[in-house]
C-alpha cells in the first residue's frame, strides 16, 4: 500500500512536468488549430543551449535554466515562422508535415554540433530526501511540483486577467470573429508561441534537471509526452492538459514499478489508444472537439 502511494506521489511530480508540456501544446493548438510536432525538438534546442552554458562556463542551475528557456523561445520562433506563418491558413496538413521536417532538421543540427551520445546537465543541487509518514520525496521533485503549480497560476492570471490573455482566448474561440474585433491574429499567434515555448523551456529544464542526462532524443520524448498528455486531457483545454499530464505521470510510474522501464512507454501509448477509442474527448471532454460537436448539435 505504501508503495502504491509512493509511486502515485512520484507519478504526480513527473506528471507535473508533462502537464507543462501539454499546456504548451494546448496553447499552440488553441490559437492555430494545428499540431506542432516540432514543439518537443524546439525545447530540446533550449536544453542543449543549457548544456552548452553548463559545460563551457561551468554555470549554476539558474543561468542554465535561463539559457534553456531562451533557447526554447528562439527555436519556437523559428518553428512558427517556418511552419505556421509562412504556410497560410487552410493548409493544416502542410503545416503539420513541415513541423515534422523541422523536427528532423533540429535533431540533425544537434547531433552535428554535439556528437557524443549523452551530455551532462546540472541538477538543482545535492538535496536530501524529505520523509513523511513512511513516504519519501526527492527535494528536487518537490521543487518541480512547486514550480509547475506556480506556472499554472501565472498562466491563469495571464489568460484571464490581461488583455493579451483575452486576445489569446478570443483567437482560440473564434479566429474569424477575433479578427473582426480588431485583433491582429498573426501577432497573437506569434506571442502565444513565445509563451508556449517559454513554458516548454521551463518544463524541459525541470524534467532534465531531475534526470540529468541530455540526448537528442529528448525532442521526441517531449513531443510524445506532451501530445499524449494533451490528448488524454482533451484537446484545447488547459485544465485537461494538467489532468492528462498528471494521469500520464501516475500510470507511467506504476507501470515502471510493476513491469520495468520498457513497459513504461508502452503503457503510455496503450493508454492513449484506449482513450481515443473509449473517450475521444479526453478526461475533460470539454475541449475544442467536444465544443464543436456541441455547436453542431445546436444547429
Amino acid at each position: 500500500m505504501i508503495d502504491f502511494i509512493q509511486n502515485t506521489l512520484d507519478g504526480i511530480t513527473i506528471g507535473a512536468g508533462y502537464a507543462l508540456l501539454a499546456i504548451g501544446f494546448t496553447l499552440i493548438f488553441g490559437v492555430l488549430r494545428r499540431l506542432n510536432l516540432a514543439y518537443g525538438p524546439s525545447i530540446m534546442i533550449g536544453v542543449f543551449l543549457g548544456t552548452f552554458i553548463y559545460l563551457h562556463f561551468d554555470a549554476g542551475w539558474l543561468p542554465v535554466a535561463i539559457a534553456t528557456v531562451i533557447g526554447a523561445i528562439l527555436a519556437g520562433i523559428y518553428v512558427e515562422r517556418m511552419c505556421f506563418w509562412a504556410i497560410k491558413e487552410g493548409a493544416a496538413l502542410a503545416s503539420m508535415v513541415s513541423t515534422f521536417a523541422i523536427w528532423m532538421q533540429l535533431e540533425e543540427l544537434v547531433t552535428v554540433i554535439f556528437p557524443e551520445r549523452t551530455y551532462k546537465f546540472p541538477t538543482l543541487g545535492e538535496m536530501d530526501y524529505l520523509e513523511f509518514a513512511g513516504l519519501e520525496m526527492r527535494a528536487e521533485h518537490l521543487i518541480m511540483l512547486g514550480i509547475a503549480v506556480l506556472m499554472v497560476g501565472l498562466l491563469h492570471v495571464l489568460l484571464y486577467r490581461t488583455r493579451f490573455g483575452l486576445s489569446v482566448r478570443a483567437v482560440s474561440e473564434n479566429p474569424a470573429a477575433a479578427r473582426f474585433m480588431g485583433i491582429n491574429t498573426g501577432r497573437v499567434i506569434f506571442r502565444a508561441f513565445i509563451l508556449a515555448s517559454a513554458i516548454g523551456g521551463v518544463a524541459g529544464f525541470l524534467l532534465v534537471a531531475t534526470d540529468p542526462t541530455v540526448t537528442p532524443k529528448f525532442g521526441l520524448q517531449a513531443t510524445f509526452k506532451g501530445l499524449i498528455a494533451m490528448m488524454l486531457g482533451g484537446m484545447g483545454s488547459i485544465p485537461g492538459a494538467i489532468a492528462g499530464g498528471v494521469l500520464l505521470g501516475i500510470v507511467e510510474r506504476h507501470m515502471q514499478a510493476e513491469f520495468g522501464a520498457i513497459m513504461r512507454d508502452m503503457a503510455a501509448y496503450a493508454l492513449l489508444f484506449l482513450f481515443l477509442i473509449f473517450r475521444p474527448g479526453g478526461i475533460m471532454a470539454q475541449g475544442v472537439a467536444a465544443r464543436e460537436a456541441a455547436a453542431l448539435r445546436r444547429v
Binding site: R161, R163, L166, S167, F180, M181, G182, R291, A295
Partner: protein, 249 residues
C-alpha cells in the same frame, strides 16, 4: 462616408459583384437588398477585408481600404455582425463585449501596464452601457453560447458597438427574429443613428428595411439595379420584377 467605386469580385467565372457603385453618406441608415446570391454578403465581405476585390476601390472616411485586412478596417472605423452568428461562445456576455472594447482602447493605451492589464473604470462602465443598450444587462455572466438566438443577435450588435465604430455593417440582423424582436431591432437601429453611427443594413425582412432606412441600393446578379429612398424603391418596376414581386415579402 463609404464610397464603393466600380467594385468587382469574380470567383472563377462567377461575377459575384460586378462593377458596383454606391455611396453611403455619414449618419444615414443605408439598406442593401436583393435576392439570394445577388452579391450583398460578398460586398460586405469585400468592405471588411475578408478577401480583396478583383477590381475597383473602397474608400472609407477619406481612407483607401480596398485591400485592408479585417483588423485594419476595424481600425478605420468599420465594425460588423455576421449572417451566421460568430460570438465567442465560451466567454461570458460581458467578456464578449470586453474583447471589442479592449481592441478599441488598445490604440489609446500609452503605458505598458494599462496596455497589458486594460480595464480603466471608464472602459468598464462603457461596457455596462452597451449591455443596457442591448437589453442584456441581466445576462452579463451567461456564456454567450447559452443565449437564446435573438439574444445572440443582440449581443453581436452590442459587440460591434463596443469596438467604437463610425459605421456598422449589419448582415441580416433580423433573420430568424419574430415580429416583436424586429420592432425592438428597429428602435435600436434608430438609436444607433441618433448616436451618429452610420449603418449599412443588409436585410431580407422588407418591413424593417422599408421602415428604417434612409436610402436603399438593390442588387441583382452582382449589379446595382436601383438606388433611392424606400418609396422610390417600392415603386421601381425593375426592382419589382427582380425581387420584391417574387419574394412574397
Amino acid at each position: 462616408m463609404l464610397e464603393i467605386k466600380t467594385l468587382s469580385k469574380h470567383f472563377g467565372g462567377v461575377r459575384a459583384v460586378d462593377e458596383l457603385d454606391f455611396t453611403v453618406r455619414q449618419g444615414e441608415i443605408f439598406g442593401l437588398i436583393g435576392p439570394n446570391g445577388s452579391g450583398k454578403s460578398t460586398t460586405v465581405n469585400l468592405v471588411t477585408g475578408i478577401f480583396p476585390p478583383t477590381a475597383g476601390e473602397i474608400i472609407f472616411d477619406g481612407r483607401d481600404i480596398t485591400t485592408a485586412q479585417p483588423h485594419v478596417t476595424l481600425d478605420a472605423g468599420i465594425a460588423r455582425t455576421f449572417q451566421n452568428i460568430r460570438l465567442f461562445n465560451n466567454m461570458t456576455v460581458w467578456e464578449n463585449l470586453w474583447v471589442a472594447q479592449n481592441s478599441a482602447e488598445d490604440k489609446k493605451a500609452t503605458n505598458l501596464l494599462s496596455r497589458w492589464m486594460g480595464g480603466s473604470r471608464k472602459a468598464k462602465s462603457q461596457v455596462e452601457e452597451y449591455l443596457e443598450f442591448s437589453a442584456l444587462a441581466d445576462k452579463r455572466d451567461e456564456l454567450a453560447g447559452n443565449l437564446a438566438f435573438g439574444e445572440q443577435r443582440r449581443l453581436e450588435v452590442a459587440r460591434a458597438l463596443a469596438a467604437k465604430p463610425k459605421m456598422v455593417l449589419l448582415d441580416e440582423p433580423a433573420a430568424g427574429m419574430n415580429r416583436e424582436e424586429v420592432r425592438a431591432l428597429d428602435e435600436r437601429l434608430r438609436a444607433l443613428k441618433a448616436r451618429g453611427i452610420t449603418v449599412l443594413l443588409v436585410e431580407h425582412v422588407m418591413e424593417l428595411v422599408m421602415e428604417v432606412t434612409d436610402r436603399i441600393a438593390v442588387l441583382n446578379f452582382g449589379q446595382k439595379i436601383a438606388e433611392g429612398t424606400p418609396s422610390e424603391i417600392q415603386n421601381n418596376q425593375a426592382v419589382k420584377d427582380a425581387y420584391l414581386g417574387t419574394s412574397g415579402d
